[in-house]
């Protein structure tokens, strides 16, 4: 019987199953960062348990780390303690690899994993971080988990799970110039809503997805959680294999050949059945800009801020009114007239080398508008930063008026010093526009790196396609 990719990934990891379908799923890779792990390590200690398989652990510090003035260390004592706690825990427990603060390979955990080849096709990947869905770009079952589950995986190498329903989201056709994987993700969320994928594992398929680079696929799978799906993944193809070849932790020699043979089976079979199939045409997707406080509150750049008075559903109307109030926006305002204060290019969604190249291609020979108070470029990892500097991208950003920073999560969630002040409006390549996400009272508009660069130059949102 033909199987879909989720069936294959699920079945190959079931260790034990209870009568109600709750299963123990074996975990191949456990990514760890400083924010969601200290209580898990402490729990292990308190119960006298040992980690089950240390070589499954890959850790880095990313959420709290500063992105400038590294010579001063971490100045916030609370942040410093959390990062030092991770240092101490990994020192005590061990790991396959640890990229601590200031290591040249340190960075956002979801950037670091793939670029070092510690994320491999067919793996189960977990991390105490909802954006673990990113790793689904490699045909992985990649799940964000809570801290109790981090402790459970440390102690047992397994996760308790019930099988989700399977959704296929097909996108076919060719994306227009200036339209990116971020726009595909936002368009999908705009259509199905932030709970549209709840209870589902989403496979992204179709000719558009096949044409996406592996990095663009990571952007798309990263945002699956914003559609409510704990997992988003994409079948393995030659692009996936090409990306992995030669990565430090990827297999070598005969093992590489055996691995590739296996990886080539990681796709949905012809005729496979899904619980739900949705479709979208690439040609219908325009550059997207969110206007509200949920990623589903999104429109195309040529549109206007929606008018709540036209919404019939009362709960939705109230939600829209609350969002407009928080965002300081009036209904029916053209999106291109929304003026911004800050720009953030970074995060696990859009901080890889291709994202930086794309933004730089817009910024080259241009200047950030004088009305923009701060424009930040934060590479996803030390290796991304180094590569960007080899290509001279840092100069393009700096010449345009951006600050060129060290790697980390930075203003995506503002746990370090990079944040919005109350009332400030930001064009951001991150993943969440929730109230207060980038700083208490801050106003976030989610866009692609190209659209963020275009907004930086104009001082307001503008159609990047006019700058190509």
């Amino acid at each position: 019987m033909p199987q879909n990719l989720y069936d294959k990934l699920w079945q190959s990891h079931v260790v034990h199953e209870e009568s109600d379908g709750t299963a123990l799923i074996y975990i191949d890779r456990h990514l760890v960062h400083e924010v969601t792990s200290p209580q898990a390590f402490e729990g292990l200690k308190l119960t006298g348990r040992k980690p089950w398989r240390i070589s499954s652990i890959v850790a880095t510090a990313d959420h709290n780390t500063p992105t400038n003035h590294w010579e001063r260390g971490i100045e916030d004592p609370v942040s410093r303690l959390q990062v030092e706690t991770l240092d101490a825990n990994i020192r005590e427990v061990g790991a396959l690899a640890y990229f601590p603060f200031m290591d040249r390979r340190q960075g956002v955990v979801h950037v670091v994993g793939p670029e070092n080849g510690v994320t491999l096709p067919g793996m189960t990947v977990v991390c105490g971080d909802s954006h673990t869905s990113t790793h689904g770009a490699f045909g992985c079952m990649a799940l964000g988990i809570g801290t109790s589950e981090v402790e459970h995986v440390l102690a047992t190498q397994c996760l308790l799970q019930k099988k989700s329903k399977a959704m296929l989201y097909r996108v076919d056709g060719t994306l227009g110039k200036g339209v990116t994987a971020k726009d595909v993700a936002l368009a999908i969320i705009g259509r199905i809503g932030t709970a549209g994928g709840t209870g589902y594992a989403i496979e992204f398929g179709g000719s558009t997805i096949r044409q996406l680079s592996v990095e663009a696929r990571m952007t798309l799978c990263n945002m699956a959680i914003e559609a409510g799906a704990r997992m988003g993944f994409i079948a393995v193809d030659e692009r996936t294999i090409e990306y992995l070849k030669g990565r430090p932790f990827a297999p070598k020699g005969e093992q590489w050949d055996a691995a590739v043979d296996h990886w080539r089976t990681l796709h949905s079979d012809e005729g496979a059945v899904f619980d739900c199939v949705l479709e979208m045409r690439a040609e219908d997707i325009q550059p997207q800009v969110t206007w509200g406080t949920s990623p589903e509150m999104v429109v195309s750049i040529g549109d206007r801020v929606p008018d709540p008075s036209r919404e019939m559903d009362i709960a939705r109307r109230e939600g829209m009114e609350r969002a407009l109030h928080y965002m300081g926006l009036k209904a029916n305002t053209p999106i291109s007239e929304i003026v911004i204060d800050k720009v953030f290019i970074g995060s696990c969604t859009n901080s890889r080398i291709e994202d930086l190249r794309a933004a730089a291609s817009i910024l080259k020979g241009r200047k950030v508008s004088g009305s923009v108070k701060l424009a930040l470029a934060v590479p996803g990892s030390g290796l991304v930063k180094k590569q960007a500097e080899l290509e001279g991208l840092d100069k393009i950003f700096i010449d345009a008026g951006f600050e060129w920073r060290e790697a980390g999560c930075s203003m995506c969630l503002a746990m370090n010093a990079d944040r919005l002040e109350t009332g400030e409006r930001c064009a951001s390549t991150s993943n969440r526009n929730f109230e207060g996400r980038q700083g208490a009272g801050g106003r976030t508009h989610l866009v692609s790196p190209e659209m963020a660069a275009a907004a930086a130059i104009a001082g307001h949102f503008t159609d990047v396609r006019d700058l190509l």
């Binding site: 706690t85 105490g128 709970a195 093992q255 691995a259």
Partner: protein, 218 residues
């Protein structure tokens, strides 16, 4: 984990859909390396009019008098009534820790985000899903009747209204058993340690590249 069997509790209505975990517990409080002490910062940005700092004493902070948890009639609430997709966004378990620390043991909603839903069960909080029509009716009753309480029984899988009517809810058998008994699920899983080890050994033989112990291979 504390077991959950039955609770008769005061209900607080949070009439918003898509309440995200950033709203439940803002990021600055995630810097703590403890599991406790998050209650005073639950819904921090809605509850107070200033910006809270980790470790700060909250007793003298300016409060938003309109926010429901600041209203006298909801003091001591143990059941939170809310709308669809509660707990969306970040996987931070600090969200259920904050709800628990504040005193909530039951959250009733039309739907929950997956990771949050899971995290509740690990912390002795019962998330109850009810149909939209029943949620609407409960919101109407709670706002009309000060001191409105509900009886929530996990064994019976019922939410009992003051007039004695019982609303049924579904819960996975395994999760129900764990919560009723307050079981430590790591302990439960380790009963299958031999099975895990056997699975792992087979996997190591079939796909050795998954078991590399350093850069460059196995």
């Amino acid at each position: 984990m504390d077991k959950f069997v039955h609770l008769d509790g005061l209900v607080a209505p949070l009439d918003r859909a898509n309440v995200d975990t950033d709203a439940i517990i803002p990021k600055q409080f995630l810097k703590s390396i403890k599991r406790s002490g998050f209650g005073p910062n639950l819904f921090d940005e809605w509850r107070y009019t200033d910006i809270g700092q980790p470790g700060e004493d909250c007793t003298n902070r300016p409060i938003n008098p309109d926010f429901l948890l600041n209203l006298p009639r909801y003091q001591g609430a143990q059941i939170l009534l809310t709308r669809k997709n509660f707990g969306c966004g970040s996987s931070r378990e600090h969200a259920p820790w904050a709800l628990l620390d504040f005193g909530f043991r039951v959250i009733i909603a039309e739907s929950f985000a997956d990771i949050f839903f899971n995290n509740c069960f690990k912390n002795g909080i019962l998330p109850v899903v009810l149909p939209a029509s029943e949620i609407d009716a409960l919101f109407a009753e709670v706002s009309a009747k000060p001191g409105y309480t509900l009886g929530v029984d996990l064994g019976q899988q019922t939410v009992v209204l003051p007039d004695g009517r019982a609303l049924h809810f579904d819960v996975d058998a395994f999760r129900k058993e764990c919560l009723l008994n307050g079981w430590d699920d790591i302990g439960l899983t380790l009963r299958h340690a031999e099975k895990i080890r056997a699975f792992e050994e087979k996997r190591r033989v079939e796909q050795p590249w998954l078991f590399a112990t350093g850069a460059g291979g196995v």
